[in-house]
Amino acid sequence: MRSLRILSSIVTVAVAFGASAAILCLVSPEPRETLWWFFVGPFSNVYFFGNMLASSVPLIFTGLAACVAFSAGAFNLGLEGQYYFGAIVGTIAALNFSNATVSRFVALVVSASAGALLSFVPALLKVKFSFNELIGTYMVGQIFVYVGDYLLNGPFRDPSAAFSATRYLNENVRLTRILPPSSLHVGYLIGIMLCFLFYFLYRYSTLGYEFRTVRGNPRFAKIHGINVDKILLIAMSLSGALAALGGMIDVLGVHGRAVKGFSHGSGFIGIAASLLASNDPSLIFLSALFLAYLDSGAEIASLMVQTPPEIARFVQGIVLCMVTAQFFLERRELDADSTA
């Protein structure tokens, strides 16, 4: 059963490769060169390789965020807004402090709180009013993407910047680069650490057991004294906080400031990362890497051969479509019997 699911994931990955190759050949005037840059490009030098790892960091965080929600049976579709808006307010808050440590601390705390709030509210609506959490989280997320855009274009816009963006954060607030000349930063290690931390908590803590039980059968959990509402609220808030932290760390590590649109969909692709890893936190950094690999390949190809980078988005969509499918169905006897 386990092996069948892994096989399904492999099929998905293989199809993703195949589809990418096919489109590239169709779209590019020089297919061979394009294929090389797409598939091998990210490994061709330290700069590209490091950047690929760096671009997997947002997906590690949003993937973990999606995973945390899934592990209690909830679906957080507002990750994009939590990631984006959380990072923006975190950056804005941090800019008020000159002390690097304080600045960093404020950034992380403010962003995490904002993210948590953005997912707590729809979760509360779900719990109190059975309000569909897919629609609730998505809409709140989208609203705050717009609000974030507004903040970047309006009151907090850096007048000297070319785009809508905040001022740059101080150099010493930013995260250390670990693989120059690429933009890979310690955030990568922090992300992986958090994944394993959650993995450990999920398996060995009482809260983890409660998450698992609520996910497996909420009615069962309730009947046996577990406060299902509380668990859902905790899971969703934690999920939002993690997503926002991801955005903040991306700002601290790569961009140095909050720029309009810097998230470009990481919130949604994070869901793919979690699902591709079968919602196993210890595997998320790998699935995040795969998805980032698609992104990097597409970007490098677009740099070198001018093929549109949106190929990556298209293929990631295919991945999402296929990742929950089971391609090797067990031939179980489908009797209409009921087991008494």
């Binding site: 497996g216 009615r219 009947i223 046996h224 004294g225 577990i226 009797d335 209409a336 019997d337 008494a340």
Partner: protein
């Protein structure tokens, strides 16, 4: 001149997968046109399975089914219906949110220019409804009584030309008057040439209202005879009512009161689910809550455990008012609960045996320390629990769904009883399980008497009599009668007492 039976069953057998239960071992049955046939048997004898096979819902593993002497195979209910065989289920095949007319004609809607014609539907249904004394309304099915719902299914079967009408426990939800009418109807159907078969528990009624009786026991047909030639005694004996022979412990008169329920009322919308229920429960007592349908007995248990909030009234357990406590707090005080739906409520089928077993204790010391679980201790706990309750298993980390029905029930009981709760609330603890488990449950309940008490809610008269000292009869949310075990009742008597008006 021998008439060809309308429907014949020859040597049919069926085993369920993956549980491996042999529901039917060798069944033989003959239904003649223009007769009413009663199918009797204890719980689990196979009556419902047989009837579902005849209706095309299940496929037999072997044997033959003949219609008018010709062997047939029903691949689905539609096939069976095309031969004129219709089944009125115990759990009615009706969509609650649709109206009466919509339910009757679903799949065979009368048209008027592409649209569903309510007018034509009403016309077609008029006669049949009148015959059944049903009113044609635009009501949604969910607002109707069980008796009316049943009649709608019968109407549907008749409307589409059923020659063989199979009814699974049709009298379960009817009062005496409605029952009379039903049997009258069946008689008129028989006179118009149909073959009618009804499943029942009630030997008296079976003999009174049928021409022929077939008794099933453990998947086999053991008796088939004309009703006029049989006595109630004979039939009951053949059915093999296997009440346990055990020493009956009269509860100690001085037993301390553990549970006190006063004036408990529960209103859900317009419906009165519980109507001023009051009683006390003493240590050592096992009390049964019996109703023919959903008469509030299950809701009462749900209210005591904390799943439902009463509109008024009090619940006091061990001298502490628990009416407003959370489920967790009530469990901590010593209340255990076995829910009605084993698969959906008593178990987490997505989890392992271990995860299912520890849900009541994982928060307590020494199993949890500073928010972290000590799995080795929990495994040992589970192991000990399963051993005491004779649950057969290889490893506790296996997914729980691989266990058989009987073992699953043992697991559920083990989990609830291992901590020696002082109050056990159980819904249908032996439903659908074989005699072995029933005896096992009775044993465990007996053991419970030394330290606690129990409330068992059920629809099954046999189960009540098997397990309980006293039986409270519920009807429409009210506690109507109290029966003591001192006078030994037969299941049929219990059922008729529960159905009587006033």
């Amino acid at each position: 001149m021998t008439r060809q039976p309308l429907l014949q069953v020859l040597n049919v057998h069926k085993t369920f997968h993956p549980s491996g239960v042999r529901a039917l071992r060798s069944v033989n049955l003959s239904l003649n046109a223009g007769t009413v046939h009663a199918l009797l048997g204890a719980n689990g004898a196979g009556k419902t399975t047989l009837v579902r096979i005849l209706a095309g819902e299940l496929q037999p593993d072997g044997g033959q089914i003949l219609v008018d002497g010709i062997p047939v195979t029903f691949r689905n209910p539609r096939d069976a219906r095309s031969y004129g065989i219709a089944l009125v289920h115990q759990n009615l095949a009706l969509v609650d949110e649709l109206t009466v007319l919509e339910n009757v004609f679903l799949g065979r809607e009368p048209l008027s220019l592409f649209f569903v014609s309510k007018r034509k539907a009403r016309q077609k249904i008029k006669d049949v409804f009148e015959r059944l004394s049903l009113k044609v309304t635009d009501e949604r099915v969910e607002n109707l009584s069980m008796a009316e719902k049943q009649k709608i299914e019968i109407a549907r079967a008749l409307l589409f030309g059923a020659r063989v009408l199979l009814l699974d426990e049709p009298t379960a939800y009817l009062n005496e008057e409605e029952e009379e009418k039903l049997f009258e109807l069946l008689r008129s159907l028989k006179n118009s040439g149909c073959a009618v078969l009804f499943i029942t528990h009630d030997v008296d009624k079976a003999l009174n209202f049928s021409d022929r009786v077939t008794v099933m026991r453990e998947g086999q047909t053991v008796l088939s005879e004309e009703s006029c030639r049989l006595t109630v005694q004979q039939v009951v004996e053949t059915m093999g009512f296997q009440g346990r022979k055990r020493t009956f412990q009269v509860p100690t008169v001085g037993g301390e009161t553990l549970l006190e329920v006063s004036n408990l009322t529960l209103n859900l919308g317009k419906k009165i689910v519980l109507d001023r229920i009051s009683f006390t429960l003493r240590r050592g007592e096992v009390i049964g809550l019996f109703g023919l349908g959903n008469d509030g007995q299950y809701d009462l248990l749900e209210t005591i455990v904390g799943l439902k909030k009463p509109s008024s009234g009090r619940i006091v357990f061990k001298n502490q008012e628990i009416t407003h406590l959370s489920i967790y707090e009530r469990r901590r005080l010593g209340i255990a609960y076995v829910p009605e739906d084993r698969a959906k409520e008593a178990l987490n089928l997505n989890g392992s045996v271990l995860e299912n077993a520890v849900v009541n204790v994982y928060r307590k010391a020494p199993y949890a320390r500073l928010g972290f679980l000590r799995w080795s201790l929990l495994e040992q706990y589970t192991f000990d629990m399963l051993k005491e309750f004779e649950v057969k298993l290889v490893s506790v980390r296996q997914p729980v769904r691989i266990l058989s029905g009987g073992n699953l029930q043992r697991l559920v009981l083990a989990r609830e009883l291992f901590q020696k709760p002082e109050l056990l609330l159980a819904c249908k603890p032996t439903s659908g399980l074989d005699i072995q488990i029933q005896n096992y449950v009775a044993e465990k309940l007996d053991l419970m008497r030394s330290y606690g008490c129990a409330l068992i809610a059920s629809n099954d008269a046999e189960e009540m009599l098997n397990l309980c000292d006293r039986v409270f009869i519920f009807s429409k949310g009210r506690l109507r009668r109290v029966l003591d075990r001192e006078k030994l009742f037969r299941p049929e008597e219990l059922i008729s007492l529960a159905g009587d008006k006033g």
